[in-house]
Symmetry: C4
Subunit: 178 residues, 4 copies
């Protein structure tokens, strides 16, 4: 791990809903444009496996993106992510209403975001994470920064950290070992 | 930062128009070809956020590219960049005429370019920038070289440097913190 | 090489069938999504050359992927790989039945995989390999970890290691030197 | 530079025809497959600028690829490369016949290749180059290995090295400085 606040593990232990930003969190931040606008996004198999394991451990998963892209919808469907909020201008308000709708407390919510537009959500959530590539204004406000790069294992590391905090990692990994 | 000349901050303070080359500045220089020629370009979310903030701080933005690509037009439209000059063979002359058309002095203009074809513009502008990947012939002629890689935060760093020089960064960032 | 167990060379010497996972082994793990789902995969010329040489040395080649993609079929056809097993949910069982169908012993089989879903196959094979990017749970169960990155020479290194163990590398390389 | 043999500069001075392999030399070796096979190649603006300058200095340019791709044809046309030989199984024989057709001596020919299939050409040419990523079997047979990575400036460095050896670099660069 790159950084964990003294209370990060305790905060991760309480997470029932984990939200992830998309660009710069599940991707490396690259936006691939063709003639008709944005066309491709590159996700990583390690992160997908982490999201699947975290979901099967009992944590609810959600994506929260300022942009809107069918590539994200396709990836989310494949991973079985329930809540996919795209084209979100005011991330703070939208995350708030999702948390309320699910009947959760803020302390039961985690978020991983990478830029200044994510600060309002990071400030609201019990467990705030950012990738190591995030600007310092963002990194200094979070509880956990994984060692792997965004779009190449950073989200996987967050997922395993939450499962380790909640004591579910060994059981979930066991399912894969037959 | 990688490099800043002693007068870089003072030069950045005067910038009213900031021009950016595209390939190797807003991208990592990769040119993606398919069967019918160039097809894709990869921009970065950090740079996009930087350009948006610099624009909202009051600086006029322009793109100046030797190549011509609908992917650039799509990205520029999304970011609200007013002046998009593509397919420019003589960058020096074209930048000169844009500066004149906007009624600006050279000292009020900044440019970020990455190769020898950009030297005529870099030589004309008050605040000249290049990415760290630029050849030495280019880097030795500029006032500022950001630490982040081209296509992955280099332009963002230039944008924040200008806003810091002009005392607008805190106000612009504040808008994102609600 | 990054890591080789004391018996790795002896294990590689016995390999008659070499299986490779695709994502994170023949690619860097990136999954490229467009509007209609996964669209592109990036393989590497070094790995392709390694697979061709290993095949021409007399070792049978197979791909074993949890996902399913026409890009993999196209690449496999080009490289002349005989056995291409895609969309495999239970990798352990499927690899077992391929090994039986080919009338081989487990000790004559090698596998390179990169994530926890690959552990059942790695545990079954005589020569188990993983890329350096694999999680520690995977790496600690294998006999060989090449130095090159996944999707950029890691599989090539495994292929050359097997040929070196079997004393076929010089002859196969000789074919290319005219 | 990474490596130059004691006679590299003298060898580069004699080059009248410079051949380049494509995959792993003008690209980073990645082969991008979609449903219908290989679809994209990523070239670099630095390399393109180097090829243009070397051509305008008076050296004849050629591409020599074992694969065949319309992306290569499109890129070559844009750069004004005269000789584009694709789908070449026997690179040694084909390069030999091109050299003869152009009425050149072997010592007047340079080649940059990255894998074992390139060794027959590298052995025939007066000035042999390989990228730093090439396997050791290849690198140990060449006169020059540039510092920049393949597909990200390695070919540019070779082009500038030849122009420096021939005393044409300053004149060619001067054309870009207006």
């Amino acid at each position: 791990m790159q950084f964990a606040s003294p209370d990060a593990l305790e905060r991760a232990r309480r997470v029932k809903l984990m939200l992830f930003d998309v660009d710069g969190v599940l991707t490396d931040g690259s936006l691939w444009y063709g003639p008709s606008g944005e066309e491709l996004k590159s996700f990583h198999s390690f992160d997908g496996q982490g999201l699947k394991m975290l979901g099967s451990s009992g944590v609810t998963l959600a994506l929260l993106s300022g942009r809107s892209s069918p590539a994200v919808s396709a990836r989310a469907a494949e991973l079985g992510i329930d809540h996919v909020l795209q084209g979100v201008a005011q991330k703070g308000a939208i995350s708030e209403s999702l948390i309320r709708r699910l009947g959760l407390a803020r302390e039961s919510t985690g978020y991983m975001g990478d830029d200044v537009v994510d600060i309002p959500v990071l400030a609201r959530c019990g467990f705030a994470c950012a990738p190591r590539e995030a600007p310092e204004q963002v990194r200094k406000r979070v509880h956990y920064v994984p060692a792997a790069r965004a779009g190449a294992g950073a989200a996987r590391e967050v997922c395993e950290y939450v499962m380790r905090a909640q004591g579910t990692l060994e059981r979930v990994l066991g399912e894969y070992l037959e």
